[in-house]
Every structure is written in structure tokens, then in C-alpha cells.
């Protein structure tokens, strides 16, 4: 028996549109397989992760140059999992967040870093302060649950960054490092991400509004 297939072309669309289109298609249903076509790595990873959250199986991911074709098979209850949340455009609700234990007694769950340095006034001083801050985090008895990097902050996590060694130390202690895919794209450093994983606005917005966040 041939599977029915729906194809959604999300090429040329910026985060989080590919995930939104995936969500809409899964909510509508009416097919055995959903084929999502994207043209950047962060969209591919975000769609794959989202599909997993809503009880779908990734049958195949075919990469053809910059494009990826993601074949998704909705599992039982996928449509219900997707529609269980209220989605109100133009501000869609975040998809289910990964449940992750936070270090007991940690001073904050999330450290949000939106630039490569701390403060304004002198760029080299700002960079130095960031290096020092991240080092002191590694020396702490407890560590935050995660570090979210956006805008210039993503530069801290790429090859050649002075802060890479400390981010890696934190990752070894269980700190989740999330770098905004849109930002990595903007600075054209996505291929140079050297620690952590690519995230998206859905996930980041949800995490920032979820618990105690320290914003640098």
C-alpha cells in the first residue's frame, strides 16, 4: 500500500517559519508522510527536533547540497500533540521544551548572553570581562542549567573564541549551551559552532520565560 505524501517547501524561509509550517501540516493531518524541504542546517535541526517532540518519526533526511528533505511520519497522537497547545500568530507558543534537570542549588537556571562582551564603554574590556565571568562560572560549586547565546553572544561559542575553553568546561559539567541559529546564520559562523547546539526563537523564548534567568 503506497503512503500518501504531503510536501511543504520551506526553502527561503527564516526561523521559525519552517517549524511553524511543519506544525500546521501535522495539525491538519491527512497524509502518511510529510516531506519538509529546507535550505539551511538550523532549520533542518529545528524541524527534526520539533517532529520528535510531537510523536513523529523521522524516516529519512536527504541532504542535497544546501537543501535538506526531511521525511516525517506522524505517530499516533501527533496531531493531538501539536494542537494541544494554543498557537496564536504572529506570536506562536513555544513547542514543548526538553525537560532537563537543573543542578540542585544552582543560582539560576539560565544565563542569557546577547553580546560577546559585558557592558559598554570599551570593547576590549567588555571581551575581557566576559572571559573572566565565564571562567568564574567554571570554578563555581554549582553551575547554571543552561547558557543561551544570541546576537554577538554566539561568537563566544565558535572556533577561535577566547571563551570557548570555558564554555566547553561548563558543557562538561552538564551546562547546556544553546546558540541561536538565526544569529549564527547572520554572522556566517554556523559551520564554526564548536560547543553546544543550534537553537531557535521558539525554544529560546520559552526557556527565557520559564525560570530564573540571569541576563548579561
Amino acid at each position: 500500500m503506497n503512503d500518501t505524501r504531503r510536501t511543504v517547501d520551506a526553502r527561503g524561509l527564516a526561523c521559525p517559519q519552517p517549524v511553524i509550517l511543519t506544525r500546521k501540516a501535522l495539525a491538519e493531518g491527512g497524509f502518511d508522510l510529510l516531506e519538509l524541504i529546507v535550505d539551511d542546517a538550523s532549520s533542518r535541526e529545528n524541524v527534526v527536533r520539533f517532529a520528535g517532540f510531537v510523536n513523529c518519526v523521522i524516516e529519512e533526511v536527504v541532504e542535497e547540497g544546501a537543501e535538506s528533505r526531511i521525511l516525517i511520519r506522524p505517530g499516533a497522537g501527533a496531531a493531538a500533540a501539536v494542537t494541544a497547545r494554543v498557537f496564536a500568530d504572529p506570536i506562536p507558543a513555544p513547542f514543548p521544551l526538553q525537560a532537563r534537570p537543573v543542578t540542585p542549588g544552582s543560582p539560576c537556571e539560565t544565563v542569557f548572553i546577547a553580546s560577546a562582551g559585558i557592558g559598554t564603554g570599551d570593547e576590549s574590556l567588555a571581551a575581557l570581562l566576559m572571559r573572566g565571568f565565564l571562567y568564574t562560572l567554571t570554578e563555581g560549586e554549582t553551575v547554571p542549567g543552561r547558557i543561551i547565546l544570541m546576537n554577538g553572544g554566539v561568537r563566544l561559542a565558535v572556533e577561535g573564541s577566547d571563551s570557548l575553553v570555558n564554555l566547553r568546561r561548563l558543557a562538561e559539567r552538564g551546562v547546556e549551551i544553546l546558540a541561536c541559529g538565526t544569529c549564527l546564520d547572520h554572522f556566517q559562523v554556523k559551520d564554526s559552532l564548536a560547543v553546544g547546539r543550534i537553537s531557535n526563537l521558539y525554544e529560546i523564548a520559552g526557556l527565557l520565560t520559564q525560570g530564573r534567568t540571569l541576563t548579561l
Binding site: S124, L125, L128, R131, G132, Y135, T136, E141, D162, V165
Partner: protein
């Protein structure tokens, strides 16, 4: 051996870091530990093996190291974490 070097200011510490890294030595710029007093908030943590210790020390002094401390680690029984100790290096 692990040595910690303090400087008169962050510019000096940064310059020393670049010089020692350029010489192929293993150094890291870190905030000054609470146990040590310094004019500057940052210092260099250097790891020298027997072959690089002499040249490393010479470079640190040439690039303005004001104080040198020998770093050692002990295990804290209560927390099971490693605690660093600093002893003035002549």
C-alpha cells in the same frame, strides 16, 4: 608546574598572555583568585613542564609579572572538590 602571575593592570596581563601564547606556552588569562591581592583583576595561569619552565618564567618577568605564585591542588573532604592553594614563588 602550575604558576600564577599577577600584573599591574589588564593591559599588561593581556600583552603577557599574547607573548607567551606566541612563544607556544600554555597560559590562560583568568580572574585573580580571592586568596591573592593584585593591582589588576586578571592574572595569568601558566602550566610549564620542566623543559619550558625557565623560558616561561623569564618571559613572565620580562612582560611585567609583579608577583608569582606556585599553584597546587588539594581535595576538600567535605565537598570532594579540588581546592587550589597558592604559595608565593621566589
Amino acid at each position: 608546574m602550575e604558576l600564577l602571575a599577577t600584573f599591574s593592570g589588564s593591559h599588561a596581563a593581556l600583552a603577557a598572555e599574547q607573548a607567551l601564547l606566541g612563544a607556544g606556552l600554555a597560559v590562560e588569562l583568568i580572574p585573580v583568585p580571592r586568596q591573592i591581592r593584585s593591582d589588576c583583576g586578571f592574572c595569568l595561569l601558566a602550566e610549564f613542564d620542566p623543559g619550558t619552565a625557565e623560558s616561561g618564567l623569564r618571559l613572565l618577568r620580562a612582560w611585567g609579572a609583579q608577583g608569582l605564585w606556585l599553584v597546587s591542588s588539594t581535595q576538600d573532604r567535605a565537598s570532594s572538590r579540588k581546592v587550589k592553594n597558592y604559595e608565593r614563588y621566589p
